[in-house]
């Protein structure tokens, strides 16, 4: 053993994704720069861009600005052995864990629904031993995406240190060459596929998020080998050019664009619609039993063809207008 400051501590768990920056440069080197029409369907985006075994990262905040249509389609197409960044994840990781699509997960937050409590089906899935997990924090995964977006292999940080969260991660300590201080070195996280829901995108994939917070989406988008965008609204290219400072994801990151109005339901879409609390209540009640879970998934996912049919099922435009009114604080007596 060397003296204390040069001892390297290591998290004991597996690193699920590659970190070599030259390997990733080679992958990004091959990515198309063509300014081309990337508009496609949910079905095609999932069947062509997501393969069994891929590692996914989902944008938004678990039940806020989430790409629900893509998540449902992954479940419908019964993708297997997927990995996932359980970063601020709620409904997203629940769907993939409950349906048996996941076999590994970098956890910072799963199972929970914040003040609504927990999902019994997600808990069953994560306690089953069928999903290999490692633990991190929200900040850790946010910075891992940043490190990847910057083309690096790791980032030094001052979190996780001294805890079991560090021990159950794949982080290592590193000594600062300038100050001698100890940092937690977090490995860059380059997902195979990123999936993000936005307010506006053009056909090339330039994306604008009109309202609300960005969470880590700008980094996640750049870190992903392939990126699927769902958008509330497809807009003319000129509208993007008219307001370039609002563009948060450039077209060269994007592989597919799908227009999905109400695409974050039952999640909140900042500036457009609030959470569908009736749906979440029904969902969390239903998944308490295996039988109830099957019934819910049959009815709302396996039993519908696409997201339009799903929206009709949850109450259609009328329901979405009600959620819009809550979001926009429109109160009417009629």
């Amino acid at each position: 053993m060397n003296n204390e400051t040069t001892d390297i501590e290591e998290g004991e768990e597996e690193l699920f994704t590659p970190v070599d920056p030259d390997e990733m440069r080679a992958a990004f080197h091959k990515k198309s720069r063509a300014l081309k029409d990337k508009v496609t369907t949910v079905k095609k985006a999932v069947s062509e861009l997501i393969h069994d075994g891929d590692y996914l990262a989902v944008g938004g905040f678990g039940h806020v600005r989430i790409p629900t249509a893509i998540l449902y389609e992954i479940v419908r197409q019964n993708k297997k052995n997927l990995g996932m960044a359980g970063h601020t994840s709620i409904y997203d990781s629940d769907l993939l864990a409950t349906s048996g699509c996941l076999n590994r997960c970098d956890i910072s937050y799963v199972i929970g629904y914040e003040i609504r409590g927990l999902s019994a089906s997600a808990r069953r899935a994560f306690e089953s031993g069928k999903i290999k997990v490692t633990d991190w924090s929200n900040g850790a995964l946010a910075w891992r995406f940043f490190a990847a977006s910057a083309g690096l292999s790791f980032i030094p940080t001052r979190i996780l240190l001294g805890t079991d969260t560090f021990k159950r991660s794949a982080a290592k300590t590193v000594t600062c060459p300038f100050t001698g201080k100890k940092y937690a070195a977090l490995p860059a996280l380059y997902p195979d596929v990123g999936i993000i829901h936005v307010h506006r995108a053009d056909t090339y994939g330039n994306c604008q998020i009109d309202d609300g917070i960005l969470i880590s989406d700008t980094y996640l988008a750049r870190a992903s080998r392939r990126l699927i965008i769902t958008t509330e609204e497809l807009v003319p290219h000129e509208e993007i050019r008219a307001n370039p400072q609002a563009t948060v994801i450039p077209y060269w990151c994007v592989d597919a664009v799908v227009e999905v109005p109400y695409g974050s339901h039952p999640g909140n879409m900042p500036g457009k619609y609030w959470f569908d609390e009736d749906f979440f209540k029904m969902y969390l009640q239903g998944v308490k039993t295996e039988e109830g879970t099957k019934k819910l998934y049959d009815e709302y996912i396996y039993g519908v063809d696409d997201f339009h049919e799903y929206i009709d099922k949850i109450g259609g435009t009328e329901k979405m207008m009600e959620l819009r009114n809550i979001e926009k604080l429109i109160f009417s007596r009629t």
């Binding site: 806020v64 633990d135 929200n138 979190i159 309202d211 880590s216 980094y219 909140n268 879409m269």
Partner: protein, 257 residues
């Protein structure tokens, strides 16, 4: 004075009082949100509420359901990124951080990850750190809000999700955590607890109305130290309760759970 309040209302009122004006506070889901909103409407008009996912200083039109929902940036100063917020805390600009957990030990280490002794076969799996490890690592003063009983206040937590003082004085710094950061108070239904400066062990600082020092010891699974002078916690005032019930949480999401 009003005797008519429930334990959650007491927690929210007590937590709101320890926030100082012109400070920055990291707020999580539930009681901390209500406490910060209450403080803002009473003695802290200029406390800046920071939400870990990017929302800064919203004028909350209602209680957020999530630390990442649209309310957390409603008419705020900024709708930013989680990376920016965590970096702000890492460079030392966030004063308070509020946390909870399933278990806490005498050094304020918190578990929100799992119960059991086998990581791969947990008896119970919880959500995990979320932003808790970041907040507990990077804020100047961490405040834990939790009900108190021997199941939660334990000799040894099953998993250290979030660092308190780790194994005692100097352990945080040795681990590489920022100098001078760490646990500040633990607010419970029975007492307000703080930390002894010499040992970094948890101690009783104030007991809540109708509670004896003995009750506090009995509901703790480890040996609690006592401050040289133990205060009595003030009951919620009528004004606190009125604002809490009518303006902060009229739907009872938090205080009537």
């Amino acid at each position: 004075m009003s005797a008519d309040y429930n334990p959650l209302e007491l927690l929210v009122c007590v937590a709101s009082r320890i926030i100082e004006d012109n400070s920055t506070a990291f707020v999580g889901t539930g009681v901390p949100m209500a406490a910060t909103m209450l403080a803002q409407k009473l003695h802290c008009p200029n406390v800046t509420a920071i939400f870990e996912a990017g929302g800064v200083a919203p004028i909350l039109p209602g209680l957020p359901i999530s630390v990442g929902d649209s309310r957390t940036s409603h008419k705020g100063f900024m709708a930013s990124t989680m990376n920016d917020i965590m970096e702000t805390a890492q460079r030392g600009m966030v004063d308070y951080g509020f946390l909870g957990g399933a278990q806490i030990d005498m050094y304020g280490n918190l578990n929100s990850t799992m119960i059991g002794d086998d990581y791969r076969k947990p008896k119970v799996r919880f959500p995990g750190s979320g932003g808790a490890n970041d907040i507990g690592s990077l804020c100047w003063r961490t405040v834990v809000i939790t009900p108190m009983d021997t199941r939660r206040f334990v000799e040894k937590v099953d998993f250290v999700t979030t660092p308190g003082y780790l194994t005692g004085k100097g352990a945080r710094e040795k681990a590489g955590l920022p100098l001078g950061s760490g646990p500040y108070k633990v607010i419970t239904n029975l007492a307000i607890l703080g930390y002894d400066e010499e040992t970094c062990r948890m101690r009783i600082e104030s007991v809540n109305p109708g509670v004896t020092i003995e009750d506090v010891h009995k509901n703790c699974g480890f040996e609690l130290l006592e401050a040289p002078q133990i205060e009595k916690t003030h009951e919620p005032t009528e004004e606190e309760l009125r604002i809490l019930r009518e303006e902060v949480d009229p739907d009872g999401y938090i205080i009537r759970r």
